[in-house]
């Protein structure tokens, strides 16, 4: 995703917390303030979203209930044929991989983004605006071209992998396995889960940095000073003051990272092999290679459902309902 998207998410976050959010609506009234004005303004955009976002989701669900193939034609059957549902079981490993990879990428993003966001918010002084531009700048280049560049960086005889081999890092990681899938192979990174996770981490990092920055920037730095005056160590101040206050940013950032990462198949395709394919790869193949639309639709719908459930549980646990 490009850098612009990130800027919007930061804007959105500010908007969510803005005290003006509802106030502006009552205080200022625009041209022709009849009862119908808002509806007239809303209709075109909302119709577009209804027809091209809501309706397709319903059609997607309906398609998953069809039976047949492209050659024999499709017929609607309720509750649909079981091969469609059993596909979800068949591709359980890909589902699991998607969520594990996206989860790990989200954790890595948080670990990398927090110090950077903290630095920009509190320590950058007059370089703040420039640093923010620098955070988004790498994402002005196409997503695919950037991902392809990682192929060069992580090449088997490249500098990074040579160093990792010499330090036996690749060897060590090749013993970190989940089932039969290990983080790396004994002497290479490309085409292993690590490469895919690194790619996901890289591609969605600004989605973590900007919401974190937005929530840290709003924080009063004197609170940390107060904590230190009361003899807290810097670490305790971070844990008890800064971290809790940045939680809205953490929640927004993790969601903005996890959701697109779980559905992504570009990183798995370009930096991995079929052994590490994610559910997005399967959906794309089912649509275009196998052309089994019912199965593809079922997988797509289940992915959306699974993400919605996860997000719901997570947001409830995190206790921030201001997000929607």
């Amino acid at each position: 995703m490009s850098g612009g998207a990130v800027a919007a998410t930061a804007a959105e976050q500010q908007d969510i917390r803005s005290p003006h959010n509802d106030g502006g609506a009552t205080e200022a009234k625009g041209v022709g303030t009849s009862k119908w004005t808002p509806y007239v303004l809303l209709t075109p955009g909302m119709l577009w979203l209804a027809i091209f976002f809501v309706v397709p989701t319903i059609v997607l669900l309906a398609t998953s209930l069809y039976t047949g193939s492209l050659d024999t034609g499709y017929s609607f059957e309720f509750p649909g044929n079981w091969s469609t549902y059993s596909a979800v079981i068949t591709y359980l490993p890909q589902f699991a991989r998607s969520f594990v990879f996206a989860g790990l990428a989200t954790v890595f993003c948080l670990a990398l983004a927090y110090p950077l966001a903290y630095f920009i918010a509190f320590r950058s002084g007059r370089w703040k605006a420039t640093l923010l531009v620098l955070v988004i700048a790498p994402f002005f280049t196409s997503f695919l071209i950037r991902t392809l560049a990682w192929k060069t960086i992580l090449a088997d005889d490249g500098f990074v992998v040579t160093v990792m081999n010499t330090l036996h890092i690749t060897d060590l990681m090749s013993h970190m396995c989940l089932g039969s899938l290990c983080l790396t192979e004994s002497d290479r990174v490309l085409n292993t889960p690590l490469a895919v996770i690194l790619g996901l981490t890289y591609n969605f990092l600004p989605f973590m940095v900007l919401p974190l920055y937005a929530s840290l920037d709003r924080m009063d730095p004197r609170l940390v000073e107060a904590a230190q005056d009361l003899y807290s160590s810097p670490w305790t101040a971070l844990r008890k003051v800064t971290w809790p206050l940045s939680l809205p940013g953490v929640v927004a950032g993790t969601l903005l990272t996890f959701i697109p990462a779980a559905g992504d198949y570009i990183n798995a395709e370009l930096l991995g092999t079929t052994k590490v394919s994610m559910i997005g790869n399967v959906i794309q193949d089912q649509f275009f290679v196998v052309t089994d639309y019912p199965t593809a639709s079922a997988l797509s719908f289940v992915l959306m459902l699974a993400i919605l459930v996860l997000v719901f549980l997570y947001v409830r646990r995190a206790g921030t309902e201001e997000l929607v």
Binding site: G4, A7, I259
Partner: protein, 287 residues
């Protein structure tokens, strides 16, 4: 400001009293600058692929793929359109970007004004509908749109790409413009009306110019989203090839260094736009 943002200065006295066993030398140097150091390393990580993209635009690859450094050459820069179909794809992506931006900005700005300046029934439902596309993975959006077009036997091509792009850019436009409207001081418009401007004049002379930077920002955002989109486009393009789809195909067939040239140009052009905008903003703030 400096004293406030730098807590170590403000609380130096009690800290010295407590920590008698302070490490000295390089350990201390690193410890005191740990946050800037980590921050710079993360920035380096973010820029590393960009350096590679630019460097390899000057490569003369041996085979079909441009993943290994062979020798310096400016051939890719001088023969930009040599790879068949690339410049056509680039042109198409620019066209789609402009049209999708236009559509999304018009529809989205209207919605943003409705939400930002009016109270009406169904406001939270509207907000939810705007939030949903941003919270849905692209693969789900793309595939569900495809099932709709298949069900209607609607041929995939330029129109379906535009429909899809306007759809997923819309929410981002609404959110960006809405944030700008929410930040407006309502007293400015009231002041205009106190000075006998009618509602229409007040809107076009005061409110709209103030919201305009938000709309411009939203347009840039929508353009970059549309221009760079692969997943949703891939599901709804039929046989039409946009630039990201060209790159995707090239990753399978062979990557000409010209792809890196386009990548480098995208980076340099956008960076220039943003930096110029920043300088202009700073000058205005001073004036």
């Amino acid at each position: 400001m400096a004293a406030v943002t730098n807590p170590s200065v403000a609380v130096a006295a009690p800290r010295v009293a407590r920590t008698t066993k302070r490490p000295s030398g390089p350990v201390r140097w690193v410890r005191e600058r740990i946050i800037p150091i980590i921050g710079s390393l993360v920035l380096f990580y973010m820029f590393l692929p960009i350096f590679v993209v630019i460097l390899f635009s000057f490569n003369l690859p041996n085979g079909r793929f441009n993943y290994k450094w062979v020798q310096f050459s400016t051939q890719a820069w001088t023969n930009l359109c040599a790879p068949g179909g690339m410049c056509e794809a680039l042109q198409l992506s620019l066209l789609i970007g402009v049209l999708a931006t236009l559509g999304a900005v018009i529809l989205g700005t209207l919605v943003a004004f409705a939400i930002g300046r009016h109270r009406f029934r169904g406001r939270s439902a509207t907000n939810l509908l705007i939030f949903m596309p941003m919270a849905t993975p692209e693969v789900v959006m793309g595939s569900s749109l495809l099932t709709l077009f298949v069900a209607l036997s609607f041929a995939r091509g330029l129109p379906t790409i535009l429909i899809a792009h306007i759809m997923f850019c819309l929410s981002f436009v609404v959110v960006t413009v809405k944030a700008r409207i929410a930040g407006l001081d309502p007293r400015l418009e009231q002041a205009a009306m106190d000075l006998y401007a009618d509602e229409r004049t007040a809107f076009w002379k005061i409110t709209f110019p103030l919201v305009l930077p938000g709309i411009v920002g939203a347009a840039l955002l929508a353009f970059s989203l549309s221009f760079d989109d692969f997943i949703v486009t891939n599901f709804n393009s039929g046989s039409t090839v946009t630039f990201p789809m060209y790159v995707w195909g090239a990753a399978q067939r062979g990557t000409p260094p010209q792809i890196n040239v386009v990548g480098s140009l995208m980076f340099l052009v956008s960076l220039t736009i943003v930096l110029v905008a920043q300088v202009v903003q700073r000058r205005r703030a001073k004036a």
